[in-house]
C-alpha cells in the first residue's frame, strides 16, 4: 500500500503562518515594555486615590497574559496572569491600594520576563 502523499499546500500554509507568528510575536514584545510603563503610571494613580486605575491595570495585565500565551511566551503570560488574578481578587474582596506592593512586584516579574524574551529575540 502506498503512503498518502503529503499535503504540501497545507505544509506551506502552516510554515507561512508560523513564520508570520514569529514576526508578530516580536512586535508584540516590543510593545510590552511601553505597556509596563503605562502600568507604572496607573499604579501611581491608584496610589494617589484613583480607584478606577485598578480596573485599567487589570485590563492591561489581561491583555499581556492572553497575547503572550498565544505566542508561546509562557513565563511572561504567567507573570501577567498573576497580576490580573491579584487585581481581580482585590477589587472584589479587598483594597487595591493595600495590594500595591504585590502589584509592583508582579510588574517587576513581567518586566524581567519581557526583557529576557526581548534579549533572546534580538540575539537570533
Amino acid at each position: 500500500m502506498r503512503d498518502k502523499p503529503p499535503d504540501t499546500a497545507a505544509f506551506h500554509r502552516s510554515a507561512e503562518l508560523q513564520h508570520q507568528m514569529e514576526q508578530i510575536g516580536a512586535r508584540f514584545l516590543d510593545r510590552v515594555l511601553p505597556d509596563l510603563d503605562a502600568m507604572e503610571e496607573l499604579l501611581a494613580e491608584l496610589g494617589a486615590g484613583n480607584a478606577s486605575a485598578a480596573a485599567a491595570l487589570e485590563m492591561v495585565a489581561h491583555r499581556i497574559r492572553g497575547s503572550s500565551a498565544i505566542f508561546g511566551f509562557s513565563m511572561l503570560s504567567e507573570a501577567a496572569g498573576a497580576i490580573e488574578a491579584l487585581l481581580a481578587s482585590v477589587q472584589l474582596h479587598g483594597d487595591p491600594v493595600v495590594a500595591m506592593p504585590a502589584i509592583a512586584e508582579g510588574m517587576a516579574a513581567v518586566r524581567s520576563a519581557a526583557q529576557a524574551l526581548g534579549a533572546s529575540h534580538t540575539a537570533r
Binding site: 500554509r13 507561512e16 503562518l17 508560523q18 508578530i24 500565551a69 505566542f71
Partner: protein, 132 residues
C-alpha cells in the same frame, strides 16, 4: 437544514497583534474573508453593512465589552441572527455558562492554537448547520 459554507467572519479584539494572528490564521488555513476591529462600538457600526456569517468576539475590552456587544446585537433584529463565538481568556466554567446564556453559540478559549483555529471555527459552523 443545509447551511451554506462559512465564508466571512468579523473578529473583534482590542489587541492588534491577536487580530493579525486571527486574520492570518483564518485566511491562510480556510480562505475566509476576515474583517476585524478593535472595539465593540466599531463592531456594531461595521455590522450594519458587513453582515458576516459569524462574529468572533473578545470578552474583555475597554468600552463596549464582548457581552455588551452581544447584547446589542441580540437586541437588533438585523443582527440578532448572526452567530457569535467568544474567543476569550475568560473561560472558566462559570464564565462560559454566562456567555452561552447571553446567546453565544460557542467559546474558544485563549490561548488558542493558531494552526488549528480555522478548524475549530469550521467545526462550530458545521455544528450550527447540523443543529438546524
Amino acid at each position: 437544514m443545509s447551511r451554506r459554507s462559512l465564508q466571512s467572519v468579523l473578529y473583534v479584539d482590542d489587541e492588534p497583534d491577536i487580530r493579525e494572528v486571527v486574520e492570518l490564521s483564518l485566511t491562510l488555513a480556510a480562505d475566509l474573508k476576515v474583517d476585524s476591529c478593535g472595539s465593540g462600538e466599531q463592531a456594531i457600526k461595521m455590522l450594519a453593512t458587513l453582515r458576516p456569517d459569524m462574529v468572533l468576539l473578545d470578552a474583555m475590552m475597554p468600552g463596549l465589552d464582548g457581552p455588551a456587544t452581544l447584547a446589542r446585537m441580540r437586541a437588533d433584529p438585523r443582527l440578532a441572527g448572526i452567530p457569535v463565538v467568544f474567543l476569550t481568556a475568560k473561560a472558566l466554567p462559570a464564565e462560559i455558562q454566562r456567555f452561552l446564556a447571553l446567546g453565544a453559540v460557542a467559546i474558544i478559549p485563549k490561548p488558542f492554537d493558531a494552526l488549528r483555529l480555522a478548524e475549530q471555527v469550521q467545526t462550530i459552523w458545521n455544528g450550527l448547520a447540523d443543529a438546524g
